[in-house]
Structure formats: C-alpha cells, structure tokens
Symmetry: C2
Subunit: 362 residues, 2 copies
Amino acid sequence: MMKDEVVTTMSNRYQAEVGKSRPTMRHVAALAGVGIKTVSRVMNNEPGVSEATRLRVVGASQQLNYQLDMAAGSLRRSGRQTLSVGLLLPSVSNPFSSEIHRAMEDALSVRGIAVFAASLDDDPEREKALVAAFLGRRVDGLVLTPIARSQAYVIPEHSRDLPTVFIDREPVGVEADAVVTDNAAGAAKAAAHLISRGHRKLAYLGDRTDIQTARERRRGFLESLAAAGIATSAVPIREGLHDEESARQATRGLLGSDDPPTAIFSSQNLVTFGAMRGLKELNANKRIALVGFDDFALADMMDPGITVVAQHPERIGKLAAERILARIDGDQSAPQTYVVPSELIVRGSGELAPPGLPAPHL
Amino acid sequence: MMKDEVVTTMSNRYQAEVGKSRPTMRHVAALAGVGIKTVSRVMNNEPGVSEATRLRVVGASQQLNYQLDMAAGSLRRSGRQTLSVGLLLPSVSNPFSSEIHRAMEDALSVRGIAVFAASLDDDPEREKALVAAFLGRRVDGLVLTPIARSQAYVIPEHSRDLPTVFIDREPVGVEADAVVTDNAAGAAKAAAHLISRGHRKLAYLGDRTDIQTARERRRGFLESLAAAGIATSAVPIREGLHDEESARQATRGLLGSDDPPTAIFSSQNLVTFGAMRGLKELNANKRIALVGFDDFALADMMDPGITVVAQHPERIGKLAAERILARIDGDQSAPQTYVVPSELIVRGSGELAPPGLPAPHL
DNA sequence: ATGATGGCTGACAACGTTGTCATGACTACA
DNA sequence: TGTAGTCATGACAACGTTGTCAGCCATCAT
C-alpha cells in the first residue's frame, strides 16, 4: 500500500545519512512512515496519537538516535521559552558565587532549565557584554550580580518582560527583584559582638568602596560603634583591599601603628584571609580579636577558630531561582528586595578579650 | 522619495510594538528603510554595505534595541555553531570543579563561546539526562566528568563529530580526548615522600572505589610502598569515604587500632579534611604525618601546614578548552589522553618524623 | 440510511535568520 | 557609445520545529 512505498523511498533518501548529519523529524517521520507533525506530537508527549503509531515513532527515533532541537522549537513558538537562564557572577570559582550557582541549578533543573554561568571579574564592560551575550541566546531570565554603577542598560529588556533578578547587590537605575544579604545588619552584629566583649579600639578592613555591599558593611559597622558611644572618627578604616596580600599588609600596618586596635573586623573573605595571615605573622592571632564577614571552609580549624558573620549563599540562590521562576510563570507583582539574614558564628577569634580584661567564658 | 515612504509605512506597522515583543530584523530593516538582508550584513559585519547604509542600520538597531537572535541564525546555517558548550562537573560548587570551570570559561569566552555548566552529584542517571539536555540545546562541544561505568551512550553523538573531551577521569567505551591528572604518579609521590621521611607504617584513606581516580590513587600509593619493600598486605586501607565525617571516623579508628600508622595518605579533599579533624581531636596532628591529595585554601595556615599533592585544575580546564576548540576547528587527529602532572607541596604535616627518628630539618 | 461526532493524522505556514542569486547602478576602458 | 566589470542591494528559500486547520475514517444515535 501507499504508506510502505513512501517509507521505502524516504528511508532511502534520509536513512543513508545516518551517522553523518544529525537526524531531523523528517528522518524519523520517514522511517516510521508517518507525517512529521505526528513525530512532533510524540516527542512532545501530546495527546491524540494512537498507541500503535506512538510506538512506531518512538522506535524510529531511538533507532536514529533522534534528539529534539530545542532551538528550532522555541523559534517556532516564538516568544516562548528556551529553558535557559543566564547567571552572572563575580567569578564562577569564587566559593560564595559557586554556592549560589549550585543552589540555583538545583532549583531550576527540576523544571528542565539550564544555566549559562559567566564570570564578571569586577569589570563593568564585561557586565554589559555578557548580558548582551545572554540576550542573544534568548535566555528566559537573567540573574545578575551587578558591578557597573548603574544597571539601566537592562531596562529595555526588563521592560520587555524579561525576568530579571539581582543578587548580592541591589540594582541602580532599574526596578527589579533583588536578593541580598543584610550587609549592614551583619556588620553591625559583628561590631556589637566585639564591643560586648569589651573592645573599644576596633579597626575596619574593607573591600573596594565602589562595591555596594562593601559600603553597606562599613556603614553597619560604624553605626554600631556610634550606637555604643565610640567615636567613629578615630576608628582606623582601611579600604580598597581586594585580595589577601593587601589585607595582610594593612593588618600589619594597623598593628604597627601608635595606637593599635584590639579587635579587627574584616569585611570579606579574602580580606579575612589576609588579616589572619598578618596576625599570625606578628604572633597576634591569639591576642587580637577578629571577626570576618563571610564564612569559609575550615574556619573552625584555625587557631583560634575564626568567628564570622556567615552569609547563606544557598538560600540566596534558592530564593533567586524561585523569583525567576515566579516571574517566568507570569508573576506581575511589584519588584521587591528580599533580604537573607546573616548569622554570627562564634568560633573563638571574635571572643578574645582586650588586654586588661579577664578571659571570657562562653 | 520612495524610500521615505517605505520607512514611514513600515515604521508605523512595526515600531508601534516597541517595548512589547522583541524586535526582529524586519523591524530594523523597516525603520532603516533597507532590506532585511542588509541588516543581516551589518549585524554580522559582512562587507559590501556602503557606509551610509551601515550607519542608518546601526542607528535603527540601537533605537530599537535590537539583538541578533543566535538561535535563529544557527538554525539557518544548519550544521553550524551555537557558540555554546556543555560542561558536566561533579558539582559546580566543588572548588576543584569550579576552578576548571573558570579556566574553561576564560579560554572559551575569547571566542564568544558560552558555557552551560551542570552538576552530576555522582549520579549516572543524571549524567545521561544532562548530556541529553545539552544535545537538545545543540551545543558545539561536550566536556564531561564521567561517572557512569561506561560512556558508550555518547558514541552516537561523538561519531557525528560532536567534539567531546573528558576531564579528570578517562572514558570507558568511547574513543575521545581526555585530560587527567597523573593520579597514580601523584599518589606514589606522596607515599615516597612519607617513606623518605622514615615512615614504614602508612595508612590509606580513600574515596569510593567506583570512582576511577580513587582506584588509580590507591594503585599508585600501593605500588610506591611495594617499591620501597613495604608489605602492602599489612597496610590499612580504608575506602568508600566520601565525606568529612566518614573520613574523621576512619582516622580515629586507625589511630585507635592495635598497631596505629605513623603516617596517613588521604586521597581526596574532603577525606583530608576529615583526617585533619580526626587527628586534631586526638591531639595527634603534630605527631602523625599527613599528606593529602588535592590542594585547598588555607592549607598553609593549619597547624602544622598540610602537605599535599596538588592538582592543577586551571591547567586541566585550559587544556580541555584548547582541545574542544581544536576539535571544533576541525582537528581530526586521533583522540589522545593528556596528563597534567600533579605537584607535591611541602608544608609541614608530611614532614613529621615517625617516633624514634630525629625531627627532620628541611 | 443519514448525519453527527470524535479520534487520528498530515499539509502548510510561520518563527528569525542567512546563503544564493539576480538586479540595477555605476565605473572603466576600448 | 558599447561592454565588461564592480559594487550595493534585496527577493527568496531554507534551516527544524510547532500551531492551525482540514480531511479521513469509524462509531453512534436517529
């Protein structure tokens, strides 16, 4: 009958190329002796295909190792989804970032959404270029750690209803969801903790001031001192520290000064590492109190253990993923900033007493 | 004149939708008063467009915030590239993996290639599913950390000339490029180092034996002992350790045994952490020598510093990226395995002498 | 027997882009 | 003045898929 004839002819024409170019629905349809639309229905689990036909199509597709082309599909149902989102991080190899990445992946993969991740390296130019690259790939959503002074450049996309969530830092110049740590409150918590242990001479080691979170942490730190009646004008502030080495030197500088602090607050991971090194080199690690912002692996194995204000990257990532999904699903509510509370983790370094005070008992 | 008329008419038809659906080349063409193919030429920097026209098109595209749709483009020039690769890692939040990820991103981004990264969690089912997801997105290449017993399932794709590179572990059942650490040699180096310090009673703490690298490391370790004339049958081997806690307990078990070792080799990051904890709890960290496989942050800040056999994830990532690029560019040479040498980093814990021997001087 | 119903199925257009090719305008040179 | 050559440009088809719609067949109530 007709059908068989078609199958034979077509299979000759198409099947010859097996193993060479990638098979398309046409190949599968030809091999199964059905129309291409029927293949589409089967591949997308649409109803309205008889079981017998379905089996034939499934068999043919397996035989050819056929794989649906998502790009072609999402082109046709235009305006529809590519099941991918773009994720912009300071660096994919930064532990804090990669925890966020992981949490997002977990939340998104259950919906079959893949993640494009890219590293910014604190370069505002890269920020724009990478966003453009994501847009060119027609991602369904954008999750960004902003660096540039303003994120107004995403406005056209955002107003086109491209779901956008900012993480870690709040955006400037756009109205969009954001998921952030309570930076100021966390830093304030650290300061209050040190003050409660009797410290009056605190120092601040901070990151580059063009980073919003760094400014927030400084603000929280200083406000906490002021609230305790400590003159903030005399507090040594060392900023612009962006790596271990500069933080190490700043720490040594602080301790070598006329009126050295008895406690240090370091506002970021690498800065904390540098401070730890500086203190250890001067044999001051068991004498000068230290509280760092950001938790890190093995902090409890240090001597003493390092007291930190921990962020919760996994919660930030999960929340960001939930927001993106909600927006993708059509949530039109007003943009909102979600704050993930930080947490003080006591391990020893932050409980060292200032000289002249008795050792604390926990 | 004619052209102006066209501009006006078309712009009414298309420009009305600005801010709503995404503009296409047709919109830009209409606004610029040119044909759509001319827009294509301008957007792709193809020659053969007069400067005046080019400027008009560029202006129109900026006004509309037009973004080339890569998916549509790569659909048309079928068989051509999507400028994306899939990267399968144990977990994107694992430091070793994320270093690889970062190195690959750096090498690939200069070519405009974006990276889909996904986490396997040691689940062979996920491995297949994620590869399928990448294929559905028509990635130009695949970089995989295999887990499943066999990777034969990628054969159809690989034989279709889809560039594939395996990292960290060599593939089974496929002929493809691989980039790996010299696991056995590295472990042998660690053992030899401990032996050279006078140790004869060594113990091995290893990961799950279904992981190829774990088996390689054990092999290298044991061969090194045998070469030194140490009876390997009596060496305590604790395997199947996949997290800190199990490694900690195994360490405590070893030290509590009748004939405790004087030195420990831990074959992986988390296992090293567990061993460190176990030793510290028993106050043995300055007595029992320890060499770990895999370097980690702050290893030098431990007491004593932790001697490790460091892998070089950045080199692995870079090399893998280079191989993928070469294959994408048409390299048809026979698949090859590239070995990235590991490196012993001496920090103290591996130089602790066994009891009865004088303290070493470095 | 008749018409209506409903289940399967495939032809066709369209998604946004680019390769191919034809066209028309202009230049250069005989 | 004619002819070949160059250059800029756009019409058109096609990439692989899916939404729409129409057609076919069997079933069922009248």
